[in-house]
Symmetry: C2
Subunit: 259 residues, 2 copies
């Protein structure tokens, strides 16, 4: 499994993904489960994928083939806006579905893929999309601060509690790392190293694209401190003293089965 | 959906379940999604269910019918130990499956049910089981502190961080409530009121069985304080100052697509 999260903020975008699968390929412009497509000063697009790796990789390959073929048709590097870019990703998914879905079904393998596409094309604000296996998609509205794909539930509560559109890129990065830490601790299928991509609004280039592994001092510090802080906060919560130490049955006896 | 969690500690058991479904019935010995079967001084068993409510309710009804029929066959009130009790629950699930599964399949409804059974029968220590839809089950070993069914992922990280077998019943109750709070905040299908059951080791009766709703002062306090403490702990984590404020591309330019 995978965990990817992308946040859309007033000041830009933050993308974080894990890389537990060892099927990572070193193709051009693929950085594990995160791919960056950019033309500095003109556009920057980031694509994250979760689900069947063969499917999400095939989608990436189809999109890159389109760019390489230069046959005049729109690609992620030429489309006029992010909505058209999301359509191209959805279409690529449908192409892979047409080619592979029947064979997968014969082996009882679900056509399982979820993608996140975010970025900015000159003339537009940054935009963020969540693309489903059927190739349809939703876009983040002002009320939506983030999308997740993969093992998303463990790391969701902390994002819900602290992130707003007005959060800074630093806060969002910190929160994404805490969210990832909670996921890694509770689910063995999600693991280091992490891929972090930061896009600043109107810079139209990747501000930061880095790999975070167990030697990363900042992430190590965050993990330890967060763990300590949570335990301390938990300890400081008032105990349920009302439980008392003696038996106390507070429901009518008639609701119990007795023999 | 539902969220149920049960914890097995050195000093007893803690059970907490939500009750968002409005299909709750007021049958004898059913307290929403949690059922208590007890013979004070001799045995106390607690059953929690998640999944298709018609299935988990049917399982409860089958088990109660067995008790009422007094036909000499083992029931939850007469079986010699908790292992046999778990088998009885598994068998009841299989009976419901035999009766209903084909009809459900015709309506494309999955036979979806997960149960937790915990408690103590005189002569044994407290034991805890997680029972699958197929009627098979696993038992908590000394390394296992808890089982969850239903929407379990949101509330798992905090339990993993703070609960051990040696935790007190009060700590476990507090943790179960915090875990439930995280789940309720992130998943609309889980909601108040909650059913809390506490079983103290060797008391062989329910120590506490109560309903917690939005008016419960302790739970309200826990929710507010935990939320504040988390936000404060998050704020106090060091920001990723290394992100800087200017663009910094730290991966080889060759890994980007450029046109």
């Amino acid at each position: 499994m995978t965990y990817c999260v992308a946040m859309l903020l007033d000041t830009g975008l933050v993308f974080l993904s894990d890389s537990r699968t060892s099927a990572g390929v070193d193709q051009i412009n693929t950085f594990r489960k995160t791919s960056v497509f950019q033309s500095p000063g003109e556009r920057v697009l980031v694509l994250q994928g979760a689900g069947n790796l063969a499917i999400t990789q095939a989608v990436g390959s189809v999109l890159r083939e389109q760019i390489d073929s230069r046959d005049g048709r729109d690609t992620l590097m030429t489309c006029v806006n992010m909505f058209e870019a999301a359509r191209l990703v959805g279409d690529a998914l449908r192409e892979v579905h047409r080619r592979d879905a029947r064979s997968l079904k014969e082996f009882a393998v679900e056509f399982n893929a979820s993608l996140i596409l975010g970025g900015q094309i000159r003339g537009e604000p940054p935009r963020l999309f969540s693309i489903y296996a059927a190739g349809n998609f939703i876009e983040a509205t002002p009320e939506t601060t983030y999308f997740q794909v993969g093992e998303s539930k463990y790391g969701k509560p902390i994002i819900d509690r602290v992130i707003r559109r007005s959060s800074s890129l630093k806060e969002a990065t910190k929160c994404a790392l805490v969210s990832m830490d909670s996921t890694i601790r509770s689910n063995l299928s999600v693991g280091l190293p992490l891929d972090l991509v930061i896009v600043r609004r109107d810079q139209l280039t990747v501000a930061r694209h880095m790999s975070i592994d167990e030697d990363n001092e900042y992430f190590r510090g965050i993990r330890t401190r967060w763990s300590d802080a949570l335990r301390e906060a938990f300890t400081e919560l008032p105990d349920p003293e009302w439980l008392g130490d003696r038996p106390l049955v507070s429901v009518p006896r008639s609701s119990d089965v007795k023999v």
